[in-house]
């Protein structure tokens, strides 16, 4: 971003007004966060403590976590789902980055003619609702014998994340001073040379933020997963839904499963929030 790096500033001069607004921000945040807090709390309860009038004090137990991570015969197990998700999400994101980095180079640093049209083509694919393609995709996957395979989701998540990755990377690449790249070109550096010596090191934080966002979207994706991989090769979102039952209470168990399913992505998001904010919002504007 340009010169004025964001500094939170004090709009009003009255310190008491500021303190009151700060307290209001805290109140709003705690209320807003409550459903998450309550989910975590419920995950440490016995079912009878979770399924009753809201209870703040109880004897915490890890039994629900034990229950949901034990593999029940025949059903999709915690271990399988996490392995599938990890393999699918990481492979897909790696391929996305391999494709998006050169593409962003061709849109930002040495722009092709009509680069704006190309960029809009990528974005416009996000306007195509997934339902419009799910039937042909399902039929193609069945014909290629790829239903219930990890490969089919790896491929489809390329389509989900590539436009976003190109869009964000382009904005990060544009911030690299063009003199540096010109100097490298005069020295005779090839595209690969420029990428490894200047662009990748300088845009590394932006690249990391972009990859993280791809990971979040792929990790949380449910529609393709449930349509194409309902049995084997299933991912974590589907595993979460196996923890609801039609008989008996299940809220504590569901909460424990939910916490496990969300924790990798939430932690990563918390750690990288500042950069992600920039990548998402500023990246989208620039």
């Amino acid at each position: 971003m340009s010169g004025h790096e964001a500094q939170p500033r004090v709009v009003g001069e009255n310190p008491w007004a500021n303190r009151a607004l700060g307290a209001l921000a805290w109140l709003v945040a705690l209320l807003f966060f409550f459903p998450v807090f309550w989910m975590v709390l419920n995950s440490f309860k016995e079912e009878q403590d979770a399924n009753t009038a809201p209870k703040l004090f109880f004897t915490p137990t890890l039994d629900r976590y034990r229950e949901v991570t034990e593999s029940a015969g025949g059903l999709l197990s915690f271990g399988e789902a996490f392995t599938n998700s990890a393999v699918i999400v990481l492979t897909s994101t790696a391929i996305v980055m391999l494709l998006a980095i050169p593409a962003a180079y061709a849109l930002a640093i040495r722009p092709v003619g009509k680069w704006r049209d190309v960029l809009f083509f990528f974005i416009s694919t996000k306007f195509l609702p997934v339902v419009a393609s799910i039937l042909p995709v399902w039929i193609l996957a069945r014909n290629f014998d790829m239903l219930n395979s990890r490969q089919v989701l790896i491929i489809l998540y390329l389509g989900v994340n590539l436009p976003l990755a190109i869009w964000m990377l382009r904005s990060f690449f544009q911030e690299i001073p063009s003199e540096l790249i010109e100097a490298a070109e005069i020295d005779g550096a090839s595209l690969r040379g420029q990428l490894t010596s200047i662009i990748l090191p300088m845009a590394a934080p932006g690249i990391a933020a972009t990859a993280l966002l791809c990971v979040i979207f792929a990790w949380n994706e449910f529609f393709y997963a449930v349509q194409l991989n309902p049995v084997e090769g299933s991912t974590v979102p589907i595993w979460v839904t196996t923890n609801i039952s039609t008989r008996g209470d299940f809220l504590a168990k569901l909460s424990a499963a939910s916490v496990l399913a969300c924790i990798p992505v939430v932690l990563a998001g918390w750690l990288a929030q500042k950069r992600m904010i920039r990548g998402l919002a500023m990246g989208a504007i620039k």
């Binding site: 921000a25 974005i123 416009s124 399902w138 449910f222 839904t241």
Partner: protein
């Protein structure tokens, strides 16, 4: 397919340094772009064209029958099907209300956050969390712990206030889903608006303050005007995603009356049990046409943003 509205004016920026581009040079520039471009065409345009073809047939999988070309028959009687018309209206409401709710709340939160106060980082962390959660988890947790008729937290509050408990999800399926979507999308809007607030040139604000403008005036005259493109961007991105909501419907209501949007309806009529691939495809094409209509407007806004950035 929707690139028609992209601006085709002279390419600006770094190109100006090298006005003469040889053919081989232009292909060398295109090369790094091609793999991504080809993959996106294969993954999005090919299925789309296949969908158009399906929509012109009377293809039913169950019971299996011959697949015949029937022209636009699927489209002709589409709006006679009141289930489809209902789904269209649900889609409109399930998109517009969450987008508006989230942009209003998100802007308010962003204004609260755009100042120094104790624990600011923690407050921001708490506020962005819903955006990071899995949509399936969000739907299930809200349904079973917040909205539950017997021991949901909301009903506990309502009873403490002297009201009688409400079966939120079964009585107000659409409203329940809208509330959940607002909760999920507010952090996203907040982040975009926060970026907008923090990119305001500090010198202009200082000058206004020195000139004796009051905070309310500064906010209305300068801040709101500056925030407008960010707000448009938030509305645009929110609309693209929310028009396709599926997960929340699947886990909260399973597409009961009043909460089936067109994407969910297409699913129900095809691989979700209807198996009428021809008719279902025609519904999905309608979603695409509607999305293109929105996208055309939206892309114009976006290209305006890109241009504005270059002038600035």
């Amino acid at each position: 397919m929707t690139t028609a509205d992209a601006t085709t004016g002279p390419v600006q920026g770094r190109d100006q340094a090298t006005p003469r581009i040889l053919l081989s040079e232009s292909w060398r520039r295109r090369l790094p772009l091609l793999p991504a471009l080809i993959i996106m065409i294969l993954l999005t345009q090919v299925p789309f064209v296949m969908s158009i073809w399906y929509s012109l047939t009377d293809w039913k999988v169950i019971p299996p029958g011959p697949r015949e070309y029937i022209g636009v028959d699927n489209y002709r009687h589409m709006f006679d099907d009141h289930f489809f018309v209902d789904a269209v209206w649900v889609t409109v409401r399930m998109t517009v209300f969450p987008v508006l709710g989230a942009i209003v709340l998100g802007t308010a939160f962003a204004i609260l956050l755009d100042r120094k106060f104790f624990g600011q980082g923690i407050v921001r962390t708490l506020l962005i969390t819903p955006f990071l959660l899995m949509p399936v988890v969000i739907g299930l947790i809200w349904k079973n712990q917040m909205f539950h008729g017997l021991y949901g937290v909301l009903n506990w509050v309502i009873e403490k206030l002297g009201g009688s408990p409400v079966e939120f999800v079964s009585r107000y399926p659409l409203l329940s889903i809208v509330i959940v979507l607002i909760w999920q999308w507010t952090p996203f809007m907040m982040l975009i608006m926060l970026a907008g607030l923090q990119s305001q040139p500090a010198d202009v604000l200082e000058a206004a303050k020195v000139d004796g403008a009051n905070p309310v005036g500064i906010f209305r005259q300068l801040t709101l005007r500056h925030l407008r493109p960010y707000m448009e961007l938030g509305i645009l991105l929110g609309t693209i995603y929310l028009i396709q909501v599926y997960d929340h419907i699947a886990v909260m209501t399973g597409g009961g009356p009043g909460s089936t949007n067109v994407p969910y309806f297409v699913f129900q009529r095809s691989i979700g049990g209807g198996w009428e691939f021809g008719q279902a495809s025609s519904y999905s094409i309608v979603v695409v046409v509607a999305s293109i209509a929105i996208a055309t407007v939206a892309l114009r806004v976006l290209s305006g943003l890109l241009k504005g950035e270059e002038i600035a």
